[in-house]
């Protein structure tokens, strides 16, 4: 039997210390050992029963319940004041075989895998590599669990490959304590799994496009995500370049996404006519405190996998003295005028090394990001055509009403089908400022005030936007979700009501969901 440890607590915090948030009980479920229960399906089903037992227990107590994985979200989206469940030890993975696929399945079965909720991106990538496969994209690092990524819309900078949820083709949700509450949800228009196989997971199939797309970025509120079926692809290499280019050229690319006709051509990355190839990944770093006419860009091109590529890892990775980071934070709080100077000093640590070329698999390029202390990140999604305009506005705000201890970066992601996916534009430009978490003083505004001003500035200038669900923001901003998603937010609420009983809706609703008005 899977076993659960229980700890009574008063509060819980995220990895980057964005809380603390109140909490009564923290659960941690571990799978039955392989020696006792060698069958993966048996262990998977056994874990589902344990989760249902915990849901039943919570239901009897009339309390809330929320699952979380690596606690990487930087707000209270993963928190529940009553009970939380750490699912990091629930990490079974299984390849899907051709005879387990639906008759109308259109995916190559060798690319399909079932991953239990607590698998991290790193674990998944390693499992896939053993099968000669790779994820299509990931975030900038690899520590998030798959359920956490999907629920909040984690993205990289895949111009033509989208976010993590975009390669999820089926969801196994536990929506209550009863047998019929274990469901497998997939789109009706693109069925994946055979009913018999779904039944072997003690689940019943629901095929519904609207429901699937709503549950995809479900914000932890569509029940307990027990597993996801992902579509992988054959393993590939990424060749990464870091260049310093003219800001005007960088923004011309951002605004148009027209790499082919751009003056930005990297030798060896062009076609026979000398036109630039379309990159897999494009990222612009902007130090808003610098008047340098150039900026650093990171560009990656997809290449077929081959053995014997140069080792992408350095032998030594240094990290800053934690005390030095705390000193910078104190300096920023008490003498904000020093921030631009501090950012410049930290330039080599924050920005990638220029002129550097690296080749590696996706899992090697987007590798571990060791914890470096309390941090913040504010991340907006806008149409890529508004990249330059939005960047100028947010830079001006940060300079004139800040300064704030962080720098901006822009990434570009293909639009998502998820109803509340924050990468909702055909190509979403993700403008993010991240840096060290500071406290409000007489001399520097709070993160909340800064976030509120960012929203206000984009609204005043009629730039449609969304906000990354897992990042810092002023989520209380009146009418925020409706402004960002219009009718889609109502649709999301309706679909949720279709799936969950009113009791389960309450159980899987937390403060965050209430604040943004999605309850």
């Amino acid at each position: 039997m899977a076993t659960t440890k229980i700890k009574q607590l008063n509060e819980w915090n995220t990895l980057h210390s964005n809380g603390p948030f109140p909490l009564k009980i923290l659960y941690q479920t571990k799978l039955e050992g392989e020696r006792v229960m060698p069958s993966k399906i048996e262990r998977y089903n056994d874990a589902a029963l344990e989760i249902q037992r915990l849901i039943k227990e919570t239901k009897h107590a009339g309390e809330g319940f929320r699952a979380y994985g690596s606690a990487w979200s930087m707000n209270n989206i993963a928190s529940n004041k009553d009970r939380m469940h750490f699912n990091g030890f629930m990490n079974i993975s299984m390849p899907i075989h051709a005879n387990e696929c639906h008759q109308e399945n259109t995916y190559d079965p060798t690319n399909l895998f079932l991953f239990e909720c607590g698998n991290t991106i790193k674990e998944i990538s390693e499992t896939l590599a053993e099968h000669g496969k790779s994820l299509k994209t990931s975030g900038a690092s690899n520590g998030q669990t798959i359920a956490g990524c999907v629920s909040t819309g984690v993205h990289g900078s895949g111009i033509d490959s989208g976010s993590v949820q975009d390669y999820v083709v089926g969801l196994n949700l536990i929506i209550g304590p009863n047998t019929e509450d274990n469901i497998f949800l997939e789109p009706k228009s693109k069925p994946v799994l055979l009913d018999n196989f779904v039944n072997s997971l003690n689940s019943r199939v629901i095929r519904d496009d609207d429901l699937f797309h709503a549950a995809l970025v479900g914000l932890g509120s569509f029940g307990f995500i027990h597993g996801v079926v992902v579509e992988a692809e054959p393993v590939f290499l990424l060749k990464r370049y870091v260049k310093k280019i003219d800001k005007n050229l960088a923004f011309e690319l951002a605004n148009t996404m027209d790499f082919k006709n751009s003056a930005f051509v990297i030798p060896g990355e062009s076609n026979a006519q000398g036109k630039a190839n379309r990159p897999f990944h494009f990222k612009i770093f902007i130090n808003q405190y610098s008047d340098d006419s150039d900026c650093v860009v990171e560009v990656m091109y997809k290449k077929p996998y081959q053995k014997n590529y140069p080792d992408p890892f350095p032998v030594i990775k240094e990290s800053l003295y934690r005390d030095l980071i705390y000193l910078f934070v104190r300096l920023a709080e008490n003498c904000p005028k020093s921030i631009p100077w501090l950012v410049k000093r930290l330039g080599n640590t924050i920005l990638p090394e220029e002129q550097k070329e690296t080749t590696g698999m996706l899992k090697e390029i987007f590798w571990d990001a060791p914890y470096q202390g309390p941090a913040f990140a504010c991340s907006f999604g806008i149409h890529h055509r508004n990249s330059e305009k939005a960047m100028n506005l947010l830079s001006k705000l940060t300079r004139e009403e800040g300064p704030i201890p962080g720098i901006f970066a822009l990434r570009f992601v293909k639009g998502t089908k998820a109803t509340l996916g924050f990468t909702k534009f055909p190509i979403t430009c993700v403008i993010e400022i991240d840096g060290l978490l500071w406290k409000k003083t007489r001399k520097i505004m709070s993160l909340e005030e800064y976030s509120k001003r960012m929203i206000a500035v984009l609204k005043e200038n009629n730039i449609p936007f969304t906000i990354h669900w897992g990042k810092n923001s002023y989520w209380k901003f009146p009418g925020l979700v409706n402004h960002m998603y219009g009718g889609s937010s109502d649709k999301w609420v309706e679909e949720r009501k279709k799936l969950l009983s009113s009791e389960m809706q309450d159980m899987f609703t937390n403060k965050f969901i209430r604040i943004v008005g999605l309850d």
């Binding site: 440890k5 700890k7 915090n13 990895l15 210390s17 923290l26 941690q28 690596s70 606690a71 750490f86 990091g88 030890f89 990490n91 991290t120 790193k122 674990e123 390693e126 520590g143 890892f313 990290s319 934690r322 090697e364 590798w367 571990d368 060791p370 914890y371 202390g373």
Partner: protein, 113 residues
Amino acid sequence: MKQIIFTLFVCGLSFLTSCYSVRLRNVNGAPQPDPFSNREDYYRGMAVVEIDTVITINLASKDFTYLIKEQDGCESGKLNIIEYRNTFGGILLSAITFGKKRKVKVKYVCQKL
């Protein structure tokens, strides 16, 4: 007097600089998590096993091997990160006992199962 101060300064400096840590981390594998831990260092969120002990070995033994076993904090019995700390006191202890006593100050995190 100046000479004594200078000697003390040099001794103090060498004492401080002789204490340092070395960390080794696997490129592959995820560290075993610990949601109940509230560490705020490099190991935040990880299940860390810390050893701070003195091992006594036979005078005839050249070295020793400390075995990492499957246990609560190390369910896989496989290492993911290991950090050892070199201290002036440890070196001194080994020197004055002719290698019989060895200070072991190690932190490790095992691979997630």
